[in-house]
Structures are given as C-alpha cells and as structure tokens.
Symmetry: C2
Subunit: 361 residues, 2 copies
C-alpha cells in the first residue's frame, strides 16, 4: 500500500494507492467525513462492477448512499450538468457535512469537485479516479471546474478533496485508448520534473499497456509524487504550478477547435507535448534528441503523432481565447531537458505555426 | 473617513466607509488589484449617477472598463444570470488578474461575488454596496452565491473581496422601503453583539430615515465592526458565525413560500426577528420586554410587523429544506438578552407554530 500525503497551508489529505482500495472506501471516507448520508456520483461506464463495490463499502461503513448517475464524456462537463446534480442533491436532502464521492474519470472528478466546492458553499469531497489519466493528474491538485462554450475550464475553483482513493484494479477494464491518455500525462510529468519517470515508462511500457498491477501502481505513485510536489509548492498557480500546463496550450486549442470528444484529452496532450518540444527546439531551448525521445515515447504509448488540424488562423484564435493568456501575450511551457521546463511568452507566430505543422496530418 | 480592517488567516482587506468614496474607487482598486482591464458589473438602478461616477474613477486610474448590466432583483440571483455574466466576461476577454467590481445591492454582490469566485477559478473581487442592507451585511464576510428553485443560497462559496468601498452618499437615492431593510439587519446585529447599536438606532432613527450622512456613516461603521468581529472569529460558520442567522430560519421560509420579491429580504428578516424573540420568550430564554423592544424597533424602522403567511405545513416544509438543517434537526438562533444569542435545536413544532402566529396577518 502506498500513501502520499498532500500538505497545503490550509489542509492536509492523503492519496491512497492500493489494489482493492475501493472495498475500503467506506472506512476511509468515515475517517475524514463522518456523516449518516453521502452522495456517490458515478460515471455509468464504471458503475458495474466498481460503483456497486464502492456503494457496498459505503453502506457497510454506515452511510445512507444517494446515488447520482452522471452523463459520460467531456461534452457533459458543463454548467447544465452541474445544475442537474445540484437538483439531485437537493432532492436527496444532502447536508453540509454529507460527503460527495466522485467515481469516474477526469470529467467526473472535475464536475463533481466543482459541485462539492459550491453546493451549500462547500462540502467534503472524495475522489475515486477510475482512469489512468485521472489517477495521475486530475485527482491531485484541487483544480475543479467545467467548460463554457467559449473555452475549456473557464469556470471552476481550487478545492481540495478530503481524501483520494486509487484502486489500480479498475484499470483492468479501461479501454486501451484511455490508458494511452494517462501515459501522455505521465510522460509530461517525467519531462517537467522526474527523469526517472521517463525511464520507467520506457522500460516497462509493455507491462503498463498489459495492465500489470504492480507496474501501474508504481507509475501512479511516481506521478502523484511529482504532481503533489508541484502543487504543495504552488497551490494557486502563481508560479511553478503553471509548469503542469506543458503541452496544454496546444492541447486546449486542439480540443477547442476539433470539438471536445473528437480526440481524447490525453491524445491532445500527447500531440501538445510534441509541438512544445518542436517549438523549444526551434527556438534553441532544447536539442533534437529530446524531441525524438518524446516522439518515440508518445508513439510507444499508442498515441497519435499527428491530427487533421484546422488552419493556423483558427488555432491561433483558440490559443488567444485560452485562459493562460496573461496581458494579451501567449505563454508557453517548453521543455529544456529531461526534468526541466521553462516559461516563454516571447515566441513568434511563425515559430508557433511551425510547431503546429509538426503535428498536422 | 473610517476604515475597518478584516484580518482572516489567509487574507486581509479593508472596508472603506466615506462620503465620496466612489470617486476614489479607481485608486483603491489599483492599490490592491492592478491590471489594465477590469469588469464593472452594476445594477442598472444605480448606474446613474453612481455607475458613471465609478466608471470615470476607474478610467482615471488607468483601467479599460468592461461594463456588464445585471438584471435587478432577487429573482435574477440565479445560475442563469451567472452563466450570462460568464459569457460577457469571455466576450470582454477579461483575464485572471482583471478585477471584477460589483456595484449594487446584496443580489448584485452575491451574484458577482460567486462569478468572481468561479470565473477562471477565482479573480480579484471588489464590493461597492449601494443599499444599506448590503453595506451593513452582505459586503462583509465573503458569503457569495445564488438561489436554486429548491432554496435560497444553496449554491455558493466563501470568497473574500480584495476591498470594500462604501459611499454613504448613494443612500440618498435609496427607496425608503429598502432603507428599512438595512435597519432590520442593523437591529439584528445589535441584538446578537452590540447593545449600543440598538441604542444608536433608537436615538437617531429619525436622522437615519432622513438620510443624515453622519448618522448613516456611524450606523454602517458599527455594523461592519460587529459583523467583522464575528467573521474574523469564525469565517466558515463552524460556530459563532451561525449567530448571524438570527431571524433567518424564519425569514428564508417566508421568502421561499411567499416568492422571492413579494417581501424584501430585510422585511422578512424584521419579521423573523420578531418571530425569533417570540420563540425565545415562549421557551423561557428571554423576557417580554426584549420582545416588546424589538417589535418597537422594527415598527420604528417602517418595517411590517405581520405578513399574509401561508399555512404552518407549508412553512414547516420550507424550514426543513433550508440549508441550516443539521442532521435533520432545525436549528434556531434565539435572543437571550441585548447583545447575546443562543443556538437551540430542541424546539417543539407547537412553539414554532406559535412564533409564526405572532407575525401572521
């Protein structure tokens, strides 16, 4: 069993990583958010068998469980979904001390987290991520929120869970394409803060893609440690936390212009990593071998290396709308070498266009 | 000029109370949230002349001002209004460091505050309350949020402003009925924490209702000190802050059943104060003179002493739905003597019904 403790100025919580952890969910929740009722908000795709396992564990721990089924997919990460959930919580008469448990992928965690941050001005929130992407990324850090028609994650909050429970067994039923998305964020974490994580992914790629539980547990643990370190040093993204956006200025523009759901988020991130490396290389920040290594890692993870991108004009406009624009200048996080990145806001449109060309099908 | 400093564990900000303060708004905002753009979100009822005064001050301080007109009234304190504002902010390309300034009454402050708490995961927020109610109550404490069909303030956050700017001059154009609402919350603050505030209101009632600027400034100052004290000791309402709900379990049920907007919030609070005092007296917590004094104060403020309430069943159900239900028990804040209240959750339905009778027309 592995526990990573997240210590922030105003709160502390544990990330528990353990095969079989879901069967202990009830006792974990009771230890940090005791109450007689709770809400279990699950993506129907994971409701069987994992949702039922979670529900039974909560019932054994003495909770009356109000279940709310979420609509799956990024296109339902909306204010409309949030409003529907508020209605269900009011209907179920959940109170200020009733914890809300999110069981699902990143969309579930982000949406339910935003509901938990705002329902009755904030209630206890427990994350049970069921995709590799959510385990290595969204489950740590407290960023919650939903999309607007004008852009991704424009509405949200910083809201920390009281516990994160990760059961690597659930990855056994995860589609291969979604496993690849988690690997994309893992590669990102390696590039920005842990060269040994890149080595691990290269060395054990076949075990990881074969769902070896030990390899996956080690992968998740290393990722959580990298991300937790960044978040503990900079919860509100005033500085270092922005490094986690490596590849994301490209990825968000890809998703915004190609439609959420066309490519999966992790696939867009994989493309964004390559584009960021190309841009870094083109501006003299890193050498060609790093670009080649990243491209090989993305390919080995089964992720696309190119996509049928729209025209430059369209992508440029989408990047301008992205919330990481500061004082009208586009800011990019670019790789310098394995384990080290740098912020740049002085890049020419020609360089950015060249980076887009490198991943255009 | 009077400045009340609010010191919380994670932030500090000033409440500035000064005739003419609005003309200095720009420099105040620049001192705590410098940026090249800001959003000025105003209730159209105060846009002339106060909105224009505020806008000019912000322009003089170097801000590009994106103006957003809000729909007035409690019935627009909704998620739909919030969504419309998000759209306007996206359109105006406001960024993470662009402050949002709320100019209006409590509905404006609560709604814009919730937008500020959640837009781009939180942006700087400045309160310019323009009603007496908002000056003495909503502008201090960081409670922001909107209503749902299922109940009042069910969605929200604790989100502190970076500054509060109060210009008592704006009360010169405030309708008399709304002035009375501010007096209701002032009476509440006197009962729960400052007997001298009750004396002040009794002694200077005619000056207050005649909009004497000095009397109003003194009133606002004393109220802000009472509320700030409570909030500084208990920001998240784990204990003492609940005292601020004096009269509100009744008031919220009145508003929920008679429809938001039928009675003004402060009018419902005035009725709630009388009901709470009756309930306290009936259960032996306070004597008859306190009940009589509160009734006289509410009457002298020009507030209604009774209303055409619905049946007990309907009111009871509405109280059950209110978010202050803890573990299915209704909790009331009741006056014990001037300056002191007590929490009670052991009251019989018969006693509560008698309290309702005391204010039923």
């Amino acid at each position: 069993m592995s526990v990573v403790r997240i210590e922030l100025p105003h709160c502390t919580y544990d990330v528990l990583i353990e095969p079989g952890a879901l069967t202990r969910l009830g006792e974990v929740v009771r230890a940090c958010a005791p109450h007689k009722r709770c809400g279990l908000l699950a993506d129907p795709a994971v409701a069987q068998p994992w949702g039922e396992l979670a529900r039974q564990s909560l019932v054994r721990a003495g909770y009356g469980v109000a279940q709310v089924a979420l609509e799956p997919g990024e296109k339902h990460k909306t204010l409309a979904a949030v409003e529907r959930i508020y209605g269900a919580l009011a209907e179920a008469r959940l109170e200020r001390r009733s914890p809300l448990i999110a069981l699902g992928g990143g969309v579930t965690g982000d949406t339910v987290g935003f509901v938990a941050a705002t329902w009755l001005r904030g209630v206890p929130f427990v994350q049970c991520p069921t995709t590799l992407l959510a385990m290595v990324d969204a489950s740590v850090g407290g960023k919650v929120g939903v999309n607007l028609p004008a852009g991704k994650n424009l509405v949200g909050a910083f809201y920390q869970p009281v516990a994160v429970v990760i059961d690597p067994r659930v990855l056994g039923t995860l589609p291969a394409r979604e496993l690849g998305c988690g690997l994309a964020e893992s590669i990102k974490h390696g590039v920005l803060g842990d060269p040994a994580l890149l080595d691990l992914i290269e060395r054990r790629m076949s075990e990881l893609r074969g769902r070896d539980p030990q390899a996956l547990a080690e992968l998740v643990h290393r990722n959580v440690v990298v991300k937790a370190g960044v978040v503990m040093r900079d919860e509100r993204e005033s500085g270092e936390r922005a490094h986690l956006n490596l590849g994301h200025t490209f990825a968000h523009a890809i998703e915004a212009t190609m439609g959420y759901g066309e490519l999966l988020h992790g696939e867009a991130v994989g493309l964004g990593l390559i584009a960021a490396a190309e841009l870094a290389h083109r501006t003299g920040l890193c050498g060609a071998p790093l670009v080649a290594r990243l491209r090989a890692l993305v390919a080995a993870a089964g992720l696309p290396l190119t996509a049928a991108l729209p025209d430059d004009e369209v992508l440029w406009a989408a990047m301008q709308r992205d919330k990481k624009v500061a004082d009208d200048r586009l800011r990019f996080v670019l790789p310098e070498r394995e384990g080290r990145v740098r912020m740049r806001d002085d890049l020419s449109r020609a360089d950015v266009s060249a980076a887009w060309r490198a991943i255009r099908a």
